[in-house]
Protein backbone atom coordinates (compact mmCIF):
# COMPACT_ATOMS: atom_id res chain seq x y z
CA UNK A 1 0.00 0.00 0.00
CA UNK A 2 2.79 2.38 1.00
CA UNK A 3 6.38 1.70 0.02
CA UNK A 4 9.44 3.71 0.94
CA UNK A 5 12.66 2.83 -0.84
CA UNK A 6 16.01 4.10 0.40
CA UNK A 7 14.66 7.39 1.84
CA UNK A 8 17.43 9.65 3.19
CA UNK A 9 17.41 13.22 4.40
CA UNK A 10 20.20 15.44 5.66
CA UNK A 11 19.40 18.89 7.01
CA UNK A 12 21.85 21.79 6.58
CA UNK A 13 24.36 19.72 4.58
CA UNK A 14 27.92 21.02 4.62
CA UNK A 15 27.44 23.23 7.69
CA UNK A 16 28.25 22.76 11.36
CA UNK A 17 24.55 22.13 11.91
CA UNK A 18 24.53 19.19 9.49
CA UNK A 19 22.12 16.57 10.72
CA UNK A 20 21.33 13.34 8.99
CA UNK A 21 17.77 12.60 10.05
CA UNK A 22 16.98 9.63 7.83
CA UNK A 23 19.46 7.04 6.54
CA UNK A 24 18.19 4.89 3.72
CA UNK A 25 14.81 3.96 5.16
CA UNK A 26 13.05 1.02 3.49
CA UNK A 27 9.51 0.37 4.63
CA UNK A 28 6.52 -1.40 3.21
CA UNK A 29 3.01 -1.19 4.65
CA UNK A 30 0.14 -3.51 3.79
CA UNK A 31 -3.37 -2.15 3.55
CA UNK A 32 -4.91 -2.11 7.01
CA UNK A 33 -1.59 -2.19 8.85
CA UNK A 34 -1.60 -0.31 12.16
CA UNK A 35 2.06 0.36 12.91
CA UNK A 36 3.33 1.92 16.13
CA UNK A 37 6.72 3.65 16.11
CA UNK A 38 8.96 4.20 19.12
CA UNK A 39 12.40 5.69 19.42
CA UNK A 40 14.63 8.13 21.27
CA UNK A 41 14.63 11.88 20.77
CA UNK A 42 15.99 12.75 17.34
CA UNK A 43 15.62 9.20 16.04
CA UNK A 44 13.96 10.54 12.89
CA UNK A 45 10.37 9.53 13.65
CA UNK A 46 8.77 12.87 12.83
CA UNK A 47 11.14 13.39 9.90
CA UNK A 48 9.92 10.07 8.52
CA UNK A 49 6.34 11.39 8.72
CA UNK A 50 7.37 14.66 7.07
CA UNK A 51 8.90 12.67 4.21
CA UNK A 52 5.76 10.58 3.77
CA UNK A 53 3.46 13.61 3.99
CA UNK A 54 5.61 15.61 1.58
CA UNK A 55 6.73 18.45 3.86
CA UNK A 56 10.11 18.18 2.10
CA UNK A 57 11.65 16.29 -0.77
CA UNK A 58 13.93 13.48 0.47
CA UNK A 59 17.56 13.58 -0.75
CA UNK A 60 17.33 10.06 -2.11
CA UNK A 61 14.75 7.38 -2.69
CA UNK A 62 11.19 6.93 -3.85
CA UNK A 63 7.80 6.83 -2.16
CA UNK A 64 4.90 5.00 -3.75
CA UNK A 65 1.35 4.79 -2.48
CA UNK A 66 -1.23 2.46 -4.02
CA UNK A 67 1.07 1.96 -6.98
CA UNK A 68 1.40 5.69 -7.65
CA UNK A 69 4.81 7.35 -7.33
CA UNK A 70 4.19 10.29 -4.97
CA UNK A 71 7.84 11.29 -4.42
CA UNK A 72 7.40 14.65 -6.15
CA UNK A 73 3.73 15.24 -5.31
CA UNK A 74 3.30 18.50 -3.32
CA UNK A 75 2.15 18.25 0.28
CA UNK A 76 -1.37 19.63 -0.25
CA UNK A 77 -2.06 17.09 -2.99
CA UNK A 78 -0.92 14.18 -0.83
CA UNK A 79 -3.06 15.52 2.01
CA UNK A 80 -6.13 14.35 0.09
CA UNK A 81 -5.18 10.77 0.88
CA UNK A 82 -3.00 11.26 3.97
CA UNK A 83 -4.54 12.43 7.24
CA UNK A 84 -2.18 13.77 9.88
CA UNK A 85 -2.29 14.65 13.58
CA UNK A 86 0.45 16.46 15.47
CA UNK A 87 1.39 16.55 19.12
CA UNK A 88 0.23 20.16 19.39
CA UNK A 89 -3.59 20.09 19.62
CA UNK A 90 -3.71 23.73 18.45
CA UNK A 91 -2.20 22.81 15.11
CA UNK A 92 -5.02 20.89 13.49
CA UNK A 93 -7.96 23.28 13.60
CA UNK A 94 -8.68 26.96 13.01
CA UNK A 95 -9.47 28.62 16.37
CA UNK A 96 -11.43 31.61 15.07
CA UNK A 97 -13.73 29.40 13.01
CA UNK A 98 -16.63 27.41 14.42
CA UNK A 99 -16.63 23.65 14.93
CA UNK A 100 -19.07 23.36 12.05
CA UNK A 101 -16.86 25.42 9.73
CA UNK A 102 -13.79 23.40 10.62
CA UNK A 103 -15.62 20.16 9.89
CA UNK A 104 -16.95 21.58 6.61
CA UNK A 105 -13.39 22.31 5.54
CA UNK A 106 -12.30 18.81 6.45
CA UNK A 107 -15.27 17.17 4.72
CA UNK A 108 -14.37 18.81 1.40
CA UNK A 109 -16.63 17.65 -1.40
CA UNK A 110 -18.88 19.94 -3.40
CA UNK A 111 -17.56 22.79 -5.49
CA UNK A 112 -15.42 25.62 -4.21
CA UNK A 113 -18.43 27.93 -4.18
CA UNK A 114 -20.84 25.50 -2.53
CA UNK A 115 -22.24 26.09 0.93
CA UNK A 116 -22.52 23.48 3.64
CA UNK A 117 -25.87 21.75 3.27
CA UNK A 118 -28.31 20.94 6.04
CA UNK A 119 -27.76 17.21 5.49
CA UNK A 120 -24.02 17.70 5.96
CA UNK A 121 -24.58 19.61 9.18
CA UNK A 122 -26.71 16.75 10.48
CA UNK A 123 -23.95 14.32 9.53
CA UNK A 124 -21.39 16.46 11.39
CA UNK A 125 -23.64 16.37 14.43
CA UNK A 126 -23.84 12.59 14.37
CA UNK A 127 -20.08 12.26 13.99
CA UNK A 128 -19.43 14.72 16.83
CA UNK A 129 -21.80 12.80 19.10
CA UNK A 130 -19.52 9.76 18.71
CA UNK A 131 -16.81 11.63 20.59
CA UNK A 132 -19.02 11.73 23.68
CA UNK A 133 -17.76 15.21 24.58
CA UNK A 134 -20.97 17.17 24.06
CA UNK A 135 -19.43 19.01 21.10
CA UNK A 136 -22.52 18.31 18.96
CA UNK A 137 -24.36 21.00 20.94
CA UNK A 138 -21.57 23.55 20.45
CA UNK A 139 -21.24 23.44 16.67
CA UNK A 140 -21.51 27.20 16.26
CA UNK A 141 -18.86 27.99 18.84
CA UNK A 142 -15.34 28.95 17.79
CA UNK A 143 -12.89 26.08 18.14
CA UNK A 144 -10.62 28.35 20.17
CA UNK A 145 -12.96 27.85 23.14
CA UNK A 146 -12.33 24.09 23.29
CA UNK A 147 -9.84 22.38 25.59
CA UNK A 148 -6.72 20.72 24.22
CA UNK A 149 -8.25 17.26 24.44
CA UNK A 150 -11.47 18.36 22.77
CA UNK A 151 -9.50 20.02 20.01
CA UNK A 152 -7.37 16.94 19.42
CA UNK A 153 -10.49 14.76 19.31
CA UNK A 154 -12.00 17.18 16.81
CA UNK A 155 -8.81 17.10 14.74
CA UNK A 156 -8.99 13.31 14.72
CA UNK A 157 -12.55 13.53 13.47
CA UNK A 158 -11.52 16.06 10.83
CA UNK A 159 -8.60 13.94 9.64
CA UNK A 160 -10.86 10.90 9.22
CA UNK A 161 -13.98 12.72 7.99
CA UNK A 162 -13.17 11.49 4.52
CA UNK A 163 -11.40 8.19 5.33
CA UNK A 164 -7.76 8.75 4.33
CA UNK A 165 -5.67 6.02 2.69
CA UNK A 166 -3.08 6.60 5.37
CA UNK A 167 -3.32 8.16 8.82
CA UNK A 168 -0.17 9.61 10.43
CA UNK A 169 -0.35 10.16 14.19
CA UNK A 170 2.65 11.99 15.61
CA UNK A 171 2.49 11.58 19.41
CA UNK A 172 -1.00 13.02 19.16
CA UNK A 173 -1.81 12.35 22.82
CA UNK A 174 1.51 13.47 24.33
CA UNK A 175 0.34 16.99 25.18
CA UNK A 176 -2.89 15.84 26.86
CA UNK A 177 -3.50 14.97 30.48
CA UNK A 178 -3.50 11.19 31.16
CA UNK A 179 -7.28 10.81 31.35
CA UNK A 180 -7.93 12.75 28.16
CA UNK A 181 -5.02 11.02 26.42
CA UNK A 182 -6.61 7.65 27.17
CA UNK A 183 -9.95 8.81 25.81
CA UNK A 184 -8.43 10.19 22.60
CA UNK A 185 -6.41 7.01 22.16
CA UNK A 186 -9.55 4.87 22.57
CA UNK A 187 -11.31 7.04 19.97
CA UNK A 188 -8.34 6.61 17.66
CA UNK A 189 -8.49 2.86 18.00
CA UNK A 190 -12.25 2.83 17.29
CA UNK A 191 -12.01 5.00 14.23
CA UNK A 192 -9.02 3.12 12.79
CA UNK A 193 -10.81 -0.18 13.31
CA UNK A 194 -14.18 0.94 11.95
CA UNK A 195 -12.78 2.61 8.86
CA UNK A 196 -10.11 -0.11 8.44
CA UNK A 197 -7.47 2.59 8.04
CA UNK A 198 -3.81 2.06 7.36
CA UNK A 199 -2.12 3.91 10.19
CA UNK A 200 1.32 4.90 11.43
CA UNK A 201 1.47 6.08 15.03
CA UNK A 202 4.48 7.53 16.80
CA UNK A 203 4.06 7.08 20.52
CA UNK A 204 5.99 7.77 23.67
CA UNK A 205 3.93 5.22 25.54
CA UNK A 206 5.74 1.86 25.39
CA UNK A 207 2.78 -0.20 26.48
CA UNK A 208 0.36 1.29 23.97
CA UNK A 209 3.05 0.76 21.34
CA UNK A 210 2.70 -2.95 22.03
CA UNK A 211 -1.02 -3.07 22.75
CA UNK A 212 -2.22 -1.13 19.74
CA UNK A 213 -1.83 -2.21 16.15
CA UNK A 214 -0.25 -5.20 14.52
CA UNK A 215 3.33 -4.07 14.05
CA UNK A 216 5.94 -2.03 15.96
CA UNK A 217 8.95 -0.20 14.57
CA UNK A 218 11.83 0.92 16.71
CA UNK A 219 13.90 3.77 15.27
CA UNK A 220 17.28 5.21 16.14
CA UNK A 221 19.63 7.64 14.37
CA UNK A 222 17.54 7.75 11.23
CA UNK A 223 17.28 3.99 10.83
CA UNK A 224 14.64 1.39 11.55
CA UNK A 225 16.34 -0.83 14.14
CA UNK A 226 13.60 -3.31 14.81
CA UNK A 227 10.51 -4.27 12.88
CA UNK A 228 8.34 -6.40 15.15
CA UNK A 229 5.30 -8.18 13.81
CA UNK A 230 3.36 -11.42 13.95
CA UNK A 231 4.50 -14.05 16.42
CA UNK A 232 7.68 -12.19 17.26
CA UNK A 233 5.61 -9.32 18.61
CA UNK A 234 3.09 -11.40 20.54
CA UNK A 235 3.64 -11.63 24.27
CA UNK A 236 6.36 -8.98 24.15
CA UNK A 237 6.60 -6.80 27.26
CA UNK A 238 7.88 -3.27 27.79
CA UNK A 239 10.91 -4.73 29.55
CA UNK A 240 11.64 -6.87 26.47
CA UNK A 241 11.44 -3.78 24.28
CA UNK A 242 13.84 -1.80 26.44
CA UNK A 243 16.29 -4.73 26.51
CA UNK A 244 16.09 -5.10 22.73
CA UNK A 245 16.77 -1.41 22.30
CA UNK A 246 19.82 -1.53 24.55
CA UNK A 247 21.20 -4.59 22.78
CA UNK A 248 20.86 -2.91 19.40
CA UNK A 249 22.00 0.61 20.23
CA UNK A 250 24.33 0.01 23.12
CA UNK A 251 22.67 2.59 25.31
CA UNK A 252 19.39 2.88 27.17
CA UNK A 253 16.32 4.25 25.39
CA UNK A 254 16.04 7.92 26.23
CA UNK A 255 12.96 9.95 25.43
CA UNK A 256 11.89 12.90 27.54
CA UNK A 257 8.23 11.98 27.27
CA UNK A 258 8.69 8.24 27.63
CA UNK A 259 6.08 6.38 29.59
CA UNK A 260 7.22 2.94 30.59
CA UNK A 261 4.06 1.68 32.19
Amino acid sequence: MLTLQNISKTFNPGTVNEKTALRGIDLHLEKGDFVTIIGANGAGKSTLFNAIAGSFLPDTGRITMDGQDITFLPEFRRAKSIGRLFQDPMRGSAPAMTIEENLALAAGGGGWLSHVSRAEKAAFRDRLALLGMGLEDRMRQPVGLLSGGQRQALTLLMATMVPPKLLLLDEHTAALDPGTAEKVLALTENIVREQKLTCLMITHNMSSALELGNRTLMMDSGRILLDLKGEQRQGLTVADLLRMFKENVGKALDNDRMLLS
Binding site: R77, A79, A94, M97, A104, W112, H115
Partner: protein, 308 residues
Protein backbone atom coordinates in the same frame (compact mmCIF):
# COMPACT_ATOMS: atom_id res chain seq x y z
CA UNK B 1 -24.50 76.66 12.76
CA UNK B 2 -27.88 75.79 11.36
CA UNK B 3 -29.36 72.33 11.44
CA UNK B 4 -29.27 72.04 7.66
CA UNK B 5 -25.56 72.90 7.63
CA UNK B 6 -24.86 70.16 10.19
CA UNK B 7 -26.97 67.70 8.24
CA UNK B 8 -25.07 68.67 5.11
CA UNK B 9 -21.75 67.92 6.78
CA UNK B 10 -23.03 64.62 8.17
CA UNK B 11 -24.30 63.62 4.77
CA UNK B 12 -20.93 64.32 3.16
CA UNK B 13 -19.23 62.30 5.89
CA UNK B 14 -21.73 59.50 5.39
CA UNK B 15 -21.21 59.41 1.61
CA UNK B 16 -17.44 59.52 1.93
CA UNK B 17 -17.50 56.91 4.68
CA UNK B 18 -19.67 54.56 2.63
CA UNK B 19 -17.58 54.96 -0.51
CA UNK B 20 -14.32 54.35 1.35
CA UNK B 21 -15.91 51.51 3.35
CA UNK B 22 -15.40 49.32 0.27
CA UNK B 23 -11.65 49.63 0.88
CA UNK B 24 -12.24 48.82 4.55
CA UNK B 25 -14.18 45.71 3.47
CA UNK B 26 -11.28 44.82 1.19
CA UNK B 27 -8.94 44.98 4.17
CA UNK B 28 -11.48 43.02 6.20
CA UNK B 29 -10.88 40.21 3.71
CA UNK B 30 -7.11 40.58 3.31
CA UNK B 31 -6.10 41.79 6.79
CA UNK B 32 -8.69 40.27 9.15
CA UNK B 33 -9.41 37.05 7.26
CA UNK B 34 -6.28 36.24 5.29
CA UNK B 35 -3.93 37.90 7.81
CA UNK B 36 -2.03 39.68 5.04
CA UNK B 37 -1.41 43.40 5.45
CA UNK B 38 -1.80 44.46 1.84
CA UNK B 39 0.30 47.60 1.41
CA UNK B 40 -0.54 47.84 -2.28
CA UNK B 41 -3.92 49.26 -1.21
CA UNK B 42 -2.98 52.91 -1.86
CA UNK B 43 -1.79 52.24 -5.39
CA UNK B 44 -4.67 49.92 -6.13
CA UNK B 45 -7.19 52.52 -4.95
CA UNK B 46 -5.65 55.07 -7.32
CA UNK B 47 -5.54 52.47 -10.09
CA UNK B 48 -9.27 51.85 -9.72
CA UNK B 49 -9.90 55.60 -9.74
CA UNK B 50 -7.73 56.15 -12.82
CA UNK B 51 -9.08 53.21 -14.83
CA UNK B 52 -12.66 54.07 -13.90
CA UNK B 53 -12.13 57.71 -14.91
CA UNK B 54 -10.47 56.87 -18.22
CA UNK B 55 -13.22 54.43 -19.18
CA UNK B 56 -15.95 56.90 -18.14
CA UNK B 57 -14.29 59.73 -20.08
CA UNK B 58 -14.17 57.41 -23.09
CA UNK B 59 -17.96 57.36 -22.88
CA UNK B 60 -18.72 54.16 -20.97
CA UNK B 61 -20.02 55.16 -17.51
CA UNK B 62 -21.34 51.68 -16.66
CA UNK B 63 -18.34 49.83 -18.04
CA UNK B 64 -16.10 51.93 -15.76
CA UNK B 65 -17.23 49.91 -12.72
CA UNK B 66 -16.21 46.40 -13.91
CA UNK B 67 -13.11 47.88 -15.55
CA UNK B 68 -11.92 49.39 -12.26
CA UNK B 69 -12.65 46.12 -10.44
CA UNK B 70 -10.80 44.09 -13.06
CA UNK B 71 -7.81 46.42 -12.70
CA UNK B 72 -7.94 45.80 -8.95
CA UNK B 73 -8.04 42.03 -9.50
CA UNK B 74 -4.97 42.28 -11.71
CA UNK B 75 -3.10 44.33 -9.13
CA UNK B 76 -4.05 41.88 -6.36
CA UNK B 77 -2.97 38.98 -8.56
CA UNK B 78 0.50 40.47 -9.03
CA UNK B 79 0.86 41.09 -5.27
CA UNK B 80 -0.23 37.51 -4.60
CA UNK B 81 2.11 35.97 -7.18
CA UNK B 82 5.05 37.91 -5.72
CA UNK B 83 4.41 36.51 -2.25
CA UNK B 84 3.25 32.98 -3.04
CA UNK B 85 5.40 32.05 -6.05
CA UNK B 86 8.49 34.23 -5.86
CA UNK B 87 9.44 34.11 -2.19
CA UNK B 88 8.95 37.84 -1.60
CA UNK B 89 7.66 38.63 1.85
CA UNK B 90 4.05 39.80 1.87
CA UNK B 91 4.68 43.31 3.24
CA UNK B 92 7.47 43.85 0.73
CA UNK B 93 5.33 42.49 -2.11
CA UNK B 94 2.68 45.11 -1.31
CA UNK B 95 5.23 47.93 -1.16
CA UNK B 96 6.80 46.87 -4.47
CA UNK B 97 3.46 46.71 -6.25
CA UNK B 98 2.45 50.04 -4.72
CA UNK B 99 5.58 51.71 -6.05
CA UNK B 100 5.18 50.19 -9.49
CA UNK B 101 1.55 51.22 -9.65
CA UNK B 102 2.52 54.90 -9.35
CA UNK B 103 4.04 54.79 -12.84
CA UNK B 104 1.24 52.63 -14.17
CA UNK B 105 -1.40 54.99 -12.82
CA UNK B 106 0.19 58.00 -14.52
CA UNK B 107 0.41 55.98 -17.73
CA UNK B 108 -3.26 55.02 -17.43
CA UNK B 109 -4.20 58.68 -17.01
CA UNK B 110 -2.41 59.51 -20.25
CA UNK B 111 0.91 60.69 -18.78
CA UNK B 112 -0.93 63.16 -16.58
CA UNK B 113 -1.29 63.24 -12.82
CA UNK B 114 -4.79 64.66 -12.94
CA UNK B 115 -7.99 63.91 -14.85
CA UNK B 116 -11.11 66.01 -14.85
CA UNK B 117 -14.60 64.51 -15.15
CA UNK B 118 -16.68 67.71 -14.90
CA UNK B 119 -18.49 67.09 -18.15
CA UNK B 120 -18.20 63.32 -18.11
CA UNK B 121 -21.14 60.99 -17.76
CA UNK B 122 -20.54 58.79 -14.72
CA UNK B 123 -22.67 56.35 -12.74
CA UNK B 124 -23.43 59.31 -10.47
CA UNK B 125 -24.73 61.57 -13.24
CA UNK B 126 -26.73 58.62 -14.58
CA UNK B 127 -28.30 58.05 -11.18
CA UNK B 128 -28.92 61.77 -10.75
CA UNK B 129 -30.82 61.85 -14.05
CA UNK B 130 -32.74 58.72 -13.09
CA UNK B 131 -33.88 60.22 -9.77
CA UNK B 132 -34.50 63.70 -11.20
CA UNK B 133 -38.18 64.08 -10.39
CA UNK B 134 -38.47 61.79 -7.37
CA UNK B 135 -38.31 62.71 -3.67
CA UNK B 136 -34.83 61.17 -3.56
CA UNK B 137 -33.50 63.59 -6.15
CA UNK B 138 -30.63 64.99 -4.10
CA UNK B 139 -29.57 61.67 -2.60
CA UNK B 140 -28.04 59.99 -5.64
CA UNK B 141 -24.51 59.86 -4.16
CA UNK B 142 -25.78 58.39 -0.93
CA UNK B 143 -27.87 55.77 -2.78
CA UNK B 144 -24.98 54.60 -4.97
CA UNK B 145 -22.48 54.37 -2.14
CA UNK B 146 -25.02 52.67 0.14
CA UNK B 147 -25.92 50.16 -2.56
CA UNK B 148 -22.26 49.42 -3.28
CA UNK B 149 -21.49 48.84 0.42
CA UNK B 150 -24.60 46.66 0.84
CA UNK B 151 -23.72 44.54 -2.20
CA UNK B 152 -20.14 44.02 -1.05
CA UNK B 153 -21.32 43.04 2.45
CA UNK B 154 -23.82 40.62 0.95
CA UNK B 155 -21.13 39.16 -1.30
CA UNK B 156 -18.66 38.73 1.58
CA UNK B 157 -21.29 37.21 3.87
CA UNK B 158 -22.10 34.59 1.25
CA UNK B 159 -18.58 34.13 -0.12
CA UNK B 160 -16.86 33.61 3.23
CA UNK B 161 -19.26 30.76 4.01
CA UNK B 162 -18.49 28.85 0.84
CA UNK B 163 -15.83 26.16 0.91
CA UNK B 164 -13.42 28.54 -0.80
CA UNK B 165 -14.25 31.26 1.72
CA UNK B 166 -13.71 28.86 4.63
CA UNK B 167 -10.39 27.81 3.12
CA UNK B 168 -9.33 31.45 2.82
CA UNK B 169 -10.24 32.09 6.44
CA UNK B 170 -8.37 28.99 7.60
CA UNK B 171 -5.29 30.09 5.63
CA UNK B 172 -5.19 33.29 7.66
CA UNK B 173 -6.27 31.76 10.94
CA UNK B 174 -4.02 28.69 11.15
CA UNK B 175 -1.34 28.46 8.45
CA UNK B 176 0.08 25.32 10.10
CA UNK B 177 -3.21 23.52 9.70
CA UNK B 178 -3.59 24.58 6.09
CA UNK B 179 -0.03 23.56 5.21
CA UNK B 180 -0.75 19.97 6.23
CA UNK B 181 -4.23 19.92 4.70
CA UNK B 182 -5.40 19.53 1.13
CA UNK B 183 -5.81 23.30 0.77
CA UNK B 184 -3.16 25.00 -1.32
CA UNK B 185 -2.33 28.21 0.60
CA UNK B 186 -0.90 29.82 -2.54
CA UNK B 187 -4.27 29.41 -4.22
CA UNK B 188 -6.37 30.72 -1.34
CA UNK B 189 -4.05 33.70 -0.81
CA UNK B 190 -4.24 34.55 -4.50
CA UNK B 191 -8.04 34.37 -4.65
CA UNK B 192 -8.36 36.38 -1.44
CA UNK B 193 -6.09 39.18 -2.62
CA UNK B 194 -7.73 39.33 -6.06
CA UNK B 195 -11.21 39.69 -4.55
CA UNK B 196 -10.06 42.20 -1.92
CA UNK B 197 -8.32 44.39 -4.48
CA UNK B 198 -11.36 44.32 -6.75
CA UNK B 199 -13.21 46.11 -3.95
CA UNK B 200 -10.34 48.54 -3.39
CA UNK B 201 -10.42 49.39 -7.11
CA UNK B 202 -14.19 49.82 -7.00
CA UNK B 203 -13.84 52.09 -3.99
CA UNK B 204 -11.33 54.29 -5.81
CA UNK B 205 -13.48 54.38 -8.94
CA UNK B 206 -16.57 55.51 -7.02
CA UNK B 207 -14.70 58.15 -5.02
CA UNK B 208 -13.17 59.61 -8.18
CA UNK B 209 -16.50 59.70 -9.99
CA UNK B 210 -18.30 61.32 -7.07
CA UNK B 211 -15.55 63.96 -6.83
CA UNK B 212 -15.54 64.32 -10.63
CA UNK B 213 -11.77 64.22 -10.73
CA UNK B 214 -8.79 61.94 -10.18
CA UNK B 215 -5.49 63.00 -8.78
CA UNK B 216 -2.46 60.70 -8.59
CA UNK B 217 -2.54 61.22 -4.80
CA UNK B 218 -6.19 60.19 -4.39
CA UNK B 219 -5.17 56.90 -2.76
CA UNK B 220 -2.22 58.02 -0.68
CA UNK B 221 -2.58 57.03 2.97
CA UNK B 222 -5.72 55.05 2.13
CA UNK B 223 -4.37 51.88 3.74
CA UNK B 224 -3.90 53.65 7.10
CA UNK B 225 -7.29 55.37 6.91
CA UNK B 226 -8.94 52.04 6.07
CA UNK B 227 -7.05 50.25 8.85
CA UNK B 228 -8.14 52.92 11.31
CA UNK B 229 -11.75 52.46 10.17
CA UNK B 230 -11.38 48.68 10.41
CA UNK B 231 -10.09 48.88 13.96
CA UNK B 232 -12.85 51.32 14.96
CA UNK B 233 -15.42 49.00 13.39
CA UNK B 234 -14.00 46.04 15.29
CA UNK B 235 -14.56 47.76 18.61
CA UNK B 236 -18.25 48.25 17.72
CA UNK B 237 -19.07 44.94 16.03
CA UNK B 238 -15.99 42.78 16.32
CA UNK B 239 -17.63 39.53 17.33
CA UNK B 240 -20.34 37.38 15.82
CA UNK B 241 -21.22 36.41 12.29
CA UNK B 242 -19.27 37.50 9.24
CA UNK B 243 -22.20 39.65 8.06
CA UNK B 244 -22.33 41.46 11.39
CA UNK B 245 -18.59 42.07 11.39
CA UNK B 246 -18.72 43.31 7.78
CA UNK B 247 -21.44 45.78 8.74
CA UNK B 248 -19.11 46.83 11.57
CA UNK B 249 -16.48 47.72 8.95
CA UNK B 250 -18.89 50.11 7.25
CA UNK B 251 -19.90 51.57 10.61
CA UNK B 252 -16.22 52.07 11.45
CA UNK B 253 -15.59 53.83 8.17
CA UNK B 254 -18.56 56.19 8.64
CA UNK B 255 -17.67 56.88 12.28
CA UNK B 256 -14.11 57.71 11.24
CA UNK B 257 -15.37 60.25 8.69
CA UNK B 258 -17.86 61.74 11.16
CA UNK B 259 -15.20 62.22 13.80
CA UNK B 260 -12.91 63.70 11.20
CA UNK B 261 -15.62 66.08 9.99
CA UNK B 262 -16.29 67.17 13.56
CA UNK B 263 -12.59 67.79 14.05
CA UNK B 264 -12.54 69.94 10.92
CA UNK B 265 -15.39 72.00 12.34
CA UNK B 266 -13.25 72.58 15.41
CA UNK B 267 -10.77 74.27 13.08
CA UNK B 268 -8.45 71.34 12.60
CA UNK B 269 -6.82 71.93 9.22
CA UNK B 270 -7.72 69.40 6.49
CA UNK B 271 -4.12 68.28 5.99
CA UNK B 272 -4.22 66.69 9.45
CA UNK B 273 -6.42 63.79 8.21
CA UNK B 274 -3.54 61.42 7.69
CA UNK B 275 -1.91 62.17 11.02
CA UNK B 276 -5.25 61.56 12.75
CA UNK B 277 -5.64 58.21 10.99
CA UNK B 278 -2.09 57.22 11.93
CA UNK B 279 -2.74 58.07 15.58
CA UNK B 280 -5.98 56.04 15.56
CA UNK B 281 -4.19 52.98 14.15
CA UNK B 282 -1.41 53.33 16.70
CA UNK B 283 -3.88 53.72 19.57
CA UNK B 284 -6.05 50.82 18.44
CA UNK B 285 -3.14 48.39 18.09
CA UNK B 286 -0.93 49.65 20.90
CA UNK B 287 -3.83 50.02 23.35
CA UNK B 288 -4.51 46.31 23.84
CA UNK B 289 -0.74 45.68 23.90
CA UNK B 290 -0.18 48.09 26.78
CA UNK B 291 -3.26 46.74 28.52
CA UNK B 292 -1.60 43.32 28.45
CA UNK B 293 1.60 44.82 29.83
CA UNK B 294 -0.22 46.58 32.66
CA UNK B 295 0.09 43.82 35.29
CA UNK B 296 3.85 43.59 34.68
CA UNK B 297 4.23 47.36 34.95
CA UNK B 298 2.17 47.45 38.14
CA UNK B 299 4.28 44.77 39.75
CA UNK B 300 7.46 46.56 38.75
CA UNK B 301 6.15 49.78 40.26
CA UNK B 302 5.18 47.97 43.42
CA UNK B 303 8.63 46.40 43.60
CA UNK B 304 10.15 49.87 43.38
CA UNK B 305 11.83 49.23 40.05
CA UNK B 306 9.57 51.49 38.02
CA UNK B 307 10.85 52.36 34.59
CA UNK B 308 13.56 49.73 34.56
Amino acid sequence: MSFSAIWGLCQTALELGLTCSLTVLALFLSYSMLNVCDLSTDGCFTLGAAVGAVVAIAGHPYLSIPAAMAAGVLSGFVTAVLQTRMGIESLLAGIIVNTGLYSINIAVMGKSSQLNMNKTETVFTKMKALLADTPLAGQYELIISLAAAALVILFLALFLRTRLGLAIRATGNNPDMVRSSSINPAFTTTVGLCVANAFTGLSGCLLAQSQKSVNIDIGSGMVTIALASLLIGQTFLGKGSIAKRAVGMVVGSVVFRLVYTAALRLNMPAFMLKLVSSVIVIAAIAGPYFKGQLPTLRRRMAAGKGGR
